[in-house]
């Protein structure tokens, strides 16, 4: 009977395309908005992922996410170094500073101060200049998109001098870095320089980056650090999750995207449901004839579910395909974040299944309660 269901479905091209477009629209909106949301969430963890070289982030007990800086004392660094299982531990400064450009404009920047001796957390890819230049006085590195933001349409010209917090800063290199949630330029420098560029505070140590001894259990080392220092210690992945969860819980971002996703779901379900229902109503006599000729309810429900499955699969494919195409198109855009993990595809798939089932439920009900005697009504 599936081929009869298929022919019935495709025989009415207008409605067939209408149902598919409804589902495609819903899956496009759901997949695209969810992917932008995931992209945004991913941006919040950019620096955690960029600062490679250490397994463990140690911070104040009350820190909730990466930009929630609660400075530590120098003693905290030494206490972390004394925890069994910790191979080494270094300082990291992270904060906001203000750059004053040659033209007198001011620009907020993200300032990262790396350990003077080891430069742990330094960017992995330098596109202009050299990492070793960072050891020069007042030297800083800047991320590529930050450079393009401050000096648009200008090729990399080094060194460049400007002011940060009324102190001379010399740009000696340009590096690759993931875009951040705030989209401010990112400036890397040595910890000792960063404390000069940063506004005056009693304590300036933002994080301690620690490396566990080879072969040790990271979670166990984190637990030990917390137990012995009273500080909070998390692996890189844990800290990324903590940061994402903060934005999920404390900001309106999930709600705003959730509303759009829900709207997409509702509109898609309404279009697909209404068109599918009308399609069934148009074919009610045919279903009645099939019923009279010996087609049981189960078989007719199977036909409707098959039709819903077909339009669901095609609509889903078109929708997520278009969303993926959108993602490819905006891949290099500095304004749009897009990340489509398998969970988005799976979630969209589930939503499409729900839409298809909802769309077919009314139709199924009409066919189930349909008296086959309807075929004798002229």
């Amino acid at each position: 009977m599936t081929w009869i269901a298929w022919k019935m479905l495709t025989g009415n091209r207008g409605k067939y395309l209408g149902i598919i477009l409804g589902i495609a629209f819903a899956s496009l909106l759901i997949a695209q908005q969810s992917s932008i949301f995931c992209g945004l969430m991913l941006l919040t963890t950019s620096q955690i992922k960029d600062l490679q070289g250490a397994d463990i982030w140690v911070m104040d007990r009350n820190v909730q996410f990466i930009d929630d800086i609660k400075p530590l004392s120098e003693n905290d660094l030494y206490r972390v170094r004394g925890v069994p299982g910790v191979q080494w531990a270094v300082r990291l400064y992270k904060g906001l500073s203000r750059a004053r450009m040659e033209n007198g404009n001011f620009q907020q920047i993200i300032l990262l101060g790396l350990d003077d001796a080891t430069l742990v957390g330094a960017p992995l890819e330098i596109v202009a200049g050299q990492l070793s230049d960072l050891r020069r006085p007042d030297a800083i590195l800047m991320d590529e998109s930050g450079y393009k933001q401050l000096w648009p349409d200008e090729p990399f010209r080094l060194p460049k001098t400007f002011e940060m917090n009324d102190r001379r800063a010399v740009l000696v290199g340009v590096c690759k870095a993931r875009r951040t949630f705030q989209t401010f330029p990112i400036v890397y420098t040595r910890y000792s320089e960063a404390t000069n560029f940063a506004p005056r505070e009693r304590k300036v140590l933002s994080f301690v980056l620690a490396q566990a001894e080879p072969g040790s259990d990271l979670l166990e080392v984190c637990r030990r650090i917390q137990e012995r220092t009273g500080l909070q210690a998390q692996t890189r992945d844990q800290f990324a999750r903590t940061t994402i969860m903060y934005y999920m819980r404390k900001t309106g971002i999930p709600i705003n995207f959730g509303i759009t996703v829900l709207l997409g779901f509702a509109v898609g379900a309404a279009i697909a449901g209404q068109t599918f229902y009308l399609f069934t109503i148009e074919n009610l006599k045919q279903f009645g004839a099939l019923k009279a000729m010996g087609a049981g309810n189960l078989r007719l429900v199977g036909m409707i579910l098959f039709q819903a499955l077909v339009v669901g699969i095609i609509g889903y494919g078109l929708g997520v395909g278009a969303a993926a195409a959108f993602g490819v198109a905006v891949k290099d855009s500095p304004q749009l974040a897009f990340f489509m993990p398998w969970q988005v595809l799976a979630g969209t798939g589930v939503a499409v299944v729900v839409i298809a089932v909802l769309a077919s439920l009314l139709s199924m009900h009409r066919v189930l309660v349909l008296e086959p005697a309807v075929v004798f009504q002229s």
Binding site: I4, G11, Q286, K291, G294, V375, S378
Partner: protein
Amino acid sequence: MSDATPSAAISCRDVTKEFGSGGALVKALRGVDLDVYRGEITLLVGPSGCGKTTLLSVIAGIMRPTSGSVHVLGSDLGTLRGQQLVRFRGQNIGFVFQQFNLLPALTAAENVTVPLILAGCSRRKAMAQAEALLGRMGMGERCRHLPSTLSGGQQQRVAIARALIHDPSLLVCDEPTSALDAHTGHSIMELLRSVALESGRAVVVVTHDSRVYDFGDRIARMEDGRVTGVDERGAVIDGRSTAQEPARL
């Protein structure tokens, strides 16, 4: 017809059918007694609203009577439940509808295959049978045509082929000629007559087209939910007396 007494394919006894309740109660059938025989065409005739289509629906097992008994091809329809009744219809009854009710997206041959597909036959085998049957009915060249490209008469031929493809013992036809012109209606009735006589199946036709009365072996007249009389090729038997002797109308 042979002189031997034909066996009753359908036997209705004191069949009633009511719709609604209270003040809105409608008595569509009020104690119908009727026998229909194999190898004959029985016409159900009468004015609109007299209960012809309701009786046909009850006979075809697509509507249950409020009371009374209906035996079709030896089975008491009242004892068949749900899926049993669906299966019984699929195996034993062929349907011809006033508006043909062909599936518009299927070709003529594909429409004819539907009862075989419902019975579990493979699509390839069903198509071969359907094309052969349509060929015998003079529709061989129209097998691959969609219903929308066929004339009314051709569509009704396809519908009759669909009703016969699984060789049912009972054919029920609802106003099979009312959507057709006189000439086409005549040829459709001839086709139905040959079908009934050739294979010994019972054919019940609801009609109020008096031009087709000549094709009926029996004409059951209905009025106000009752069979008031039966014409049997020239003889008229009073409705009340047939109720007392229902085995032979």
